[in-house]
Amino acid sequence: MNTLEARLKPLMIGGLDGDTRAWREFLGLLRPAFHAYFKRRQFHGDADVEDLVQEALMAVHAKRETWRRADPVTSWCYTIARYKLIDHLRRTGRARFVPMVDDLSLEVDGVEDGAVRHDLDRLLSTVPARQQALVKDVKLSGYSLAEAGERAGLSEGAARVSLHRAMKALMNRVTDRET
């Protein structure tokens, strides 16, 4: 059910027992997970993301004794990643776009999706309802412009204009928050 957790836990325990191969595999598994985590929260170059991944991996290594065997490994890892992200944003002066609460009761991929959805919903709520529906249908659900326009009661041309305006507003919104 929760595959990453199931794979990470024995490796974490191995690493704590001094098994360098298990620990290598652990960090190797964590790397793409962290990459995805930071990627979705960063709208800048990849250099930033890779720096954060490295910083978080070093923190995971240095602080591995703070994991309690009673707690899920993934929530421990993501709490560290979030701390490093917030620390990074604070240092570079952009702390506003991080959700304060990741719902850790979800399974781990769900944690990710839930947090992203939360960011996205907050962002989308800044444009009118009809535009929201268009953006969701076309950009997220994969409807064609004509189909999405029909669902929203618009001609294809009107839908195109409306969608364009919505995306522009959203982009402005994102860059506003980041500078």
């Binding site: 704590l16 001094g18 360098t20 290598r24 890779e50 490295q54 070093m58 923190a59 602080k63 703070t66």
Partner: protein, 218 residues
């Protein structure tokens, strides 16, 4: 910070090569050891500056003496537990918070009970005792001795909220200092202990929070 950009794969290899075995419960054991050392250091400072209580042997079984120690040490214990939990990413903090709340309620209950049994004339005396002007200040000053030991343990943790962890660490240092000062103090009312000891402990906690904001980042 980093001397040169490092390939992430190389970094992982390098980290993995340094994976030494880690004994279970290491953070808890380190915290307990540091708190113990903090208590010894604080007691030595009390001994050297205020001098030993000549009648220490005869008061150790007095209720007031026991109350001071039980109060101070249980606050130190629960705050230390809270500090640990705050410093372990993803760990729940409910247990130690409930513990601290329970200690506070018990002490408030004890004070209410004590006050109920006193006449109006002795109420103020029970609050001020002989040494109210010095107690909190001394507990606060002694906590400065205990703080470095506690923070040494806290530094090795990974608190997502450094200010909160610092607050917990400061309360530990304050409570340890209160226990040490309690070896010397001759006050006999629960009201006195609940007020002036707590004030000293809270002061130490606030200092710890301010300190933690900077010192406990990682």
């Amino acid at each position: 910070m980093r001397p040169e950009p490092l390939n992430t794969e190389d970094l992982i290899d390098r980290l993995a090569a340094g994976a030494r075995p880690i004994p279970e419960h290491r953070p808890a054991r380190r915290a307990a050891l540091c708190a113990g050392l903090a208590l010894v250091a604080s007691a030595i400072v009390v001994w050297m500056t205020l001098g030993p209580r000549p009648d220490l042997a005869s008061v150790v079984d007095e209720p007031a003496f026991l109350l001071r120690q039980v109060y101070a040490l249980s606050v130190a214990g629960f705050a230390g537990w809270l500090m640990l939990r705050l410093g372990q990413p993803g760990a729940p903090v409910r247990g130690p918070v409930i513990g601290l709340g329970a200690v506070a309620l018990l002490v408030i209950g004890l004070v209410a009970w004590e006050q109920a049994g006193l006449g109006d004339a002795s109420r103020l005396d029970s609050l001020l005792g002989q040494s109210w002007t010095q107690c909190s200040l001394r507990v606060g000053a002694i906590s400065l001795v205990a703080t470095p030991f506690v923070f040494f343990a806290a530094r090795r943790l990974a608190p997502a909220r450094p200010t909160m962890a610092g607050l917990a660490a400061g309360i530990v240092a304050g409570a340890v200092a209160a226990s040490a000062y309690g070896l010397y103090c001759a006050e006999i009312t629960a009201t006195f202990v609940a007020t002036w000891y707590s004030l000293g402990i809270v002061t130490s906690g606030l200092l710890g929070g301010a300190l933690g904001r900077w010192v406990l980042r990682w």
